[in-house]
Amino acid sequence: MNQMTNVNPDSQSPMLRVDNLTHRVSVETDTLTILQGVTLEINRGESVAIVGRSGSGKTTLLGLLAGLDTPSEGTVELDGSVISKLSEDERAKLRAHRVGFVFQSFQLLPALTALENVMLPLELAGMASPEKRARELLERVGLGERLTHTPRQLSGGEQQRVAIARAFASEPLILFADEPTGNLDNRTGQAVSDLLMALNREQGTTLVMVTHDEHLAARCNRQFHIEAGVLSEPEAAQEMAH
């Protein structure tokens, strides 16, 4: 557990700072504005839910916050680095060491076993003996018996638990989750979100989650609503946060 080595010396600064973020895409002859002037700050260790209807722009926002894409205007500052100004490779390096992901559709590599899927980010981050850590995590998510199974041999809930293990494997400072329970039934979804929140607490990770599951959103410290590309934070949630 060497989490502190990755932390910015100025631990009081926000984990994520977004300033006037606008994103447009061109569709044939027209230009569509997906996000409009989004500004927000997320502190270290906070858990944040972004809630909105389909097509409201929440996934685009998540992609921009995580540096998977670059905005048309505005800046995203992650752990002190302005990621909207980094090159693709610099962003990749940042992701390898400080960012974790959980996806709605799990995104496990079908050819690799559960263990290998969890080892992969550790290897990419250059860890010397990734297997021990990967085993520990899989045991932690309750899949200690399923190490050699490929995604095809696992149920949806199990696959998402592998994905969560993978996300926490490299001890990220911040974890982005895109509808982590979206593809799961209620009970499994509940179990997976329990696990996600528990690991988040244990590791002190900052969590940014996109969901339309109100129950899950309610378990986060703060909630944002997004509609037609405009982000807002309901007053109650703001009060809770401060």
Binding site: G63, L68, E88, A92, Q107, A111, M119, L120, L124
Partner: protein
């Protein structure tokens, strides 16, 4: 890096369908190209050695000046590791008990023949046997006809000059029974050591000393380098490829093999390109995920580059492992055809094209789409992104096309071939653009319904991008296969036309002017009419525009025609198979000028109006070149380098007449009567030569068929690869259709129809492009005349429609046998 390593292992790759296709394409490419190259190089050696037996050696040195060559020359050849042999040829009278006959004697040393065999009979009723040595000292073998002419029995003695020799066998066929004019009268073969004792050869006798050489090509070449400065004009150095009749057939066969190999290269490139593009598409999610997990673009590039290298090694090793048994099989087949063992020889240089094919296919075709993977946006993990447009791939395509045509050019060494194929492909792509436009324009109007035809057409429209690219690949594949089929057909037709069953197989030479009419009527009465009779005057070309011709012609050009006497003729009409390429044929009363054969004119650098001086006996004749014409040397009819007009420069010269005609085997006895009635006329029997040529053509045909089969198999694999590229989409669609209530029969029929339409379209396009390519090829490479071959190519669109319909049916199997729900879940 266990997990990352596993991501790159070939064993794991093999489980992915697209990788299997890339690897299969590579393996097939390497196997086909290596097999063809190995076999072509072996076939060439075998054919040259078969053909060498026409000379009874690899090279011959002929001394026409009646003097043997210095012993030192033979010693040098032996020192350079060559096998040598000697022959002396002359004409003389031989005597039996009561009769005598002019014969053509060939006296041979123990080494004769260095290549090929002599066919003899120990007695007139005995079986024929092949031997590889001539008669021993004191013995003589004679032509069976001579036995009857002289009323001799085997075992009796024949008087040659001062010497009595025992007739110990009948000479059926000698390996070098070519067209030499000294081989005119019936043949007698004896040992060279007996020649001196006969006393026949005197100062000034007309005698030819012929020397045989055999050995490896490099040694022969180096010996010739040594020999060349020492040769006199009366010496003639002849190799297998020097203008002998069959050498053209041989060259064409070689070119066919190279064309076949080139097409294999193209097919391989197409297969690798299709499969690796498909692979790259399937890898985009993985790449996006790896990027999300923090792998840099360079890291991704490196990962896939290593993987390509592994494929390359696997493809090359696998391909060679497949090539070896195939090559062994072909060799086995060849030895069956030839009825003699053919060595299983691995010529390392023949493997180079295969290795280059693998590397070029990988790096020009597989690498570009894989390299573009590094541009896949990481955002793809959250949301599917627009796929790449064709524009990004365009520069890569241009590089790939240039690379593969460079490869074909290097491989076949023929710019004409490359340009023809490129032209055919360009035409194909143009036609394809048109078809694509028509497809979109017309199919847009078709609406779906419960009818299989409609569903098929809607299917074509719905998959229009995939349909068009599939049509493109099928059409290209079919074009390449059709090109090969067409070239093979025209090659075989040409050969058959060149040597029909009734091709002239006997020449009559040395017919005195006053005997011409009698000779003509002799054969007319026996139902074997003669071809046209030509006067013939022997003369040397000595001056060109007043300068000695040997000084004016570049030393680099080895012009045999200058080293010997030429057969000159006069004629009023241009022979049917000759063609004027420059100038004009003689006018009605024209008495000046000479018409020169085109190839010789080219070598001598002649143009119209150049003055040629011929030395005929002690006379000199000078004429200006008035026309240049092509000649069919392989027509088995008398052909002439130089033709004069009637009553032109040759009129005053002493001429004899020459003709050719067809004489069936069962009428050969008529030759005895003819020889008795016209003892001075020489009969040149070339029926054995023609049989040999036909045999070689048969061998080559077999080889061509084998290679054609190989290429067609490769084409089929390419098509399977392309069809399986859309396998998943089609299966998902089929499952959906079934879920939505589509009946199985409807599904089967519409899918088969859709594929049949694809195959039919592609077949028609491919065939048209192939005709265009063959049209272009025909002129430059195979020297034939072009004609449409609809009867040959018509089945191709039909076959391709049927094959593809079956492929389509095969794809549907899981859709029909598994519940749609299960299938949809499996394809998730």
């Amino acid at each position: 890096m266990a997990a990352a390593k596993k991501l790159m292992s070939v064993r794991r790759d093999w489980r992915e369908r697209d990788v299997r296709v890339v690897l299969a394409a590579l393996i097939i490419a390497v196997a086909t190209v290596a097999t063809i190259a190995l076999f072509a190089s072996q076939l060439q050696r075998t054919l040259v050695s078969s053909a060498s037996s026409f000379l009874a050696a690899d090279r011959q040195l002929e001394a026409e000046n009646g003097r043997p060559i210095p012993d030192a020359w033979l010693q040098e050849a032996a020192d350079q590791g060559l096998k040598t042999g000697r022959m002396v040829e002359f004409s003389t009278m031989v005597f039996g008990d009561e009769n005598f006959q002019l014969v053509s004697v060939k006296a041979v040393s123990n080494e004769y023949p260095l290549r090929g065999d002599i066919e003899i009979q120990r007695n007139p009723t005995g079986t024929r046997e092949l031997v590889n040595q001539g008669p021993g000292p004191g013995e003589v073998w004679i032509n069976p006809r001579l036995l009857r002419l002289l009323d001799l029995e085997v075992g009796e003695s024949l008087e040659v000059g001062n010497l009595n020799l025992t007739v110990s066998g009948l000479l059926i066929r000698e390996p070098d029974g070519g067209f030499r004019l000294s081989a005119l009268a019936p043949r007698v073969m004896m040992h060279v050591d007996d020649v001196a004792a006969t006393g026949v050869i005197q100062e000034g006798s007309r005698v030819e000393y012929v020397y045989l050489f055999a050995g490896d090509e490099a040694a022969l070449e180096s010996y010739y380098q040594w020999l060349e400065p020492r040769l006199e004009p009366s010496h003639e150095w002849a190799g297998v490829r020097d203008g002998e009749t069959f050498s053209r057939s041989l060259e064409r066969a070689e070119r066919f093999l190279l064309l076949g190999g080139s097409l294999a290269v193209l097919l391989a490139a197409v297969a690798v390109a299709v499969a690796s593009r498909q692979y790259a598409l399937s890898q985009r999610d993985t790449v996006a995920l790896l990027k999300t997990l923090g792998l840099s673009g360079a890291g991704i590039g490196g990962l896939y580059l290593k993987r390509l290298a592994l494929w390359g090694v696997t493809g090359i090793v696998g391909g060679l492992l497949v090539a070896m048994p195939l090559y062994w099989l072909l060799i086995h087949m060849l030895s069956q055809v030839l009825e003699r063992p053919v060595e299983f020889q691995l010529d390392p240089s023949a493997l180079v094209p295969a290795l280059l094919t693998a590397l070029v296919s990988l790096f020009a075709f597989a690498y570009p789409p894989v390299r573009r993977l590094r541009n896949v946006p990481a955002m793809r993990v959250l949301r599917s992104q627009p796929g790449e447009t064709g524009r990004e791939a365009l520069p890569d395509m241009i590089i790939a096309i240039v690379a593969v045509f460079g490869l074909v050019w290097m491989y076949a060494g023929e710019l004409a071939l490359v340009v023809s194929l490129l032209g055919g492909l360009a035409l194909l792509l143009g036609a394809l653009g048109l078809v694509g436009w028509l497809l979109v324009a017309t199919l847009r109007k078709v609406r779906g319904g419960g009818n299989a035809w409609r569903l098929a057409l809607v299917g074509l429209y719905r998959h229009r991008r995939a349909s068009l690219s599939q049509i493109a690949v099928f059409a290209m594949t079919l074009m390449l296969a059709a090109t090969l089929i067409l070239v093979r057909t025209s090659l075989l037709t040409d050969w058959q036309a060149q040597l029909p069953d009734d091709a002239p197989n006997h020449f009559l030479i040395n017919i005195a002017p006053e005997a011409v009419e009698d000779v003509d009527s002799f054969w007319q009465e026996r139902g074997q009419p003669l071809d046209k009779l030509y006067p013939m005057v022997r003369g040397r070309l000595t001056e060109l525009n007043g300068q000695p011709v040997k000084e004016t012609v570049s030393k680099d050009e080895n012009v045999n025609a200058l080293n010997r006497e030429l057969n000159l003729t006069w004629m009023s009409a241009l022979p049917d198979d000759n063609e004027i390429v420059e100038g004009a044929w003689f006018g009605e009363n024209q008495k000046e000028g000479v018409s020169v054969e085109a190839e010789l004119a080219g070598k001598l650098g002649l143009s119209l109006g150049d003055e040629l001086t011929f030395t005929i006996g002690s006379e000199k004749v000078t004429e200006a070149v008035t026309s240049i014409r092509t000649v069919q040397w392989d027509s088995m009819k008398p052909n002439f380098y130089m033709a004069f007009p009637p009553e032109g420069g040759l009129t005053e010269m002493p001429a004899t007449w020459i003709t050719s005609f067809y004489l069936p085997k069962d009428k050969k006895d008529a030759l005895n009567e003819f020889s008795r009635q016209f003892p001075t006329v020489s009969v040149l029997e070339i029926d054995h030569v023609i049989e040999r040529i036909q045999e070689i053509v048969r061998q080559v045909t077999q080889a061509i068929e084998a290679i054609l089969a190989l290429i067609l198999a490769a084409a089929l694999v390419v098509m399977a690869a392309v069809v399986s590229a859309t396998l998943q989409d089609r299966q998902r669609e089929g499952a959906l259709l079934r879920t939505l209530g589509g009946r199985q029969r409807l599904l089967v029929r519409s899918t088969m129809l859709e594929f049949a339409l694809l195959g039919g379209f592609a077949g028609v396009l491919g065939v048209v492009a192939a005709e265009a390519a063959v049209w272009a090829l025909q002129f430059r490479m195979f020297e034939g005349t072009f004609q449409w071959h609809w009867h040959v190519v018509l089945p191709i669109p039909i076959v391709s429609a049927v094959v593809l319909a079956l492929f389509g049916r095969w794809q549907l199997r899981p859709v029909l046998s598994v519940s749609p729900m299960l299938l949809l879940r499996r394809l998730e």
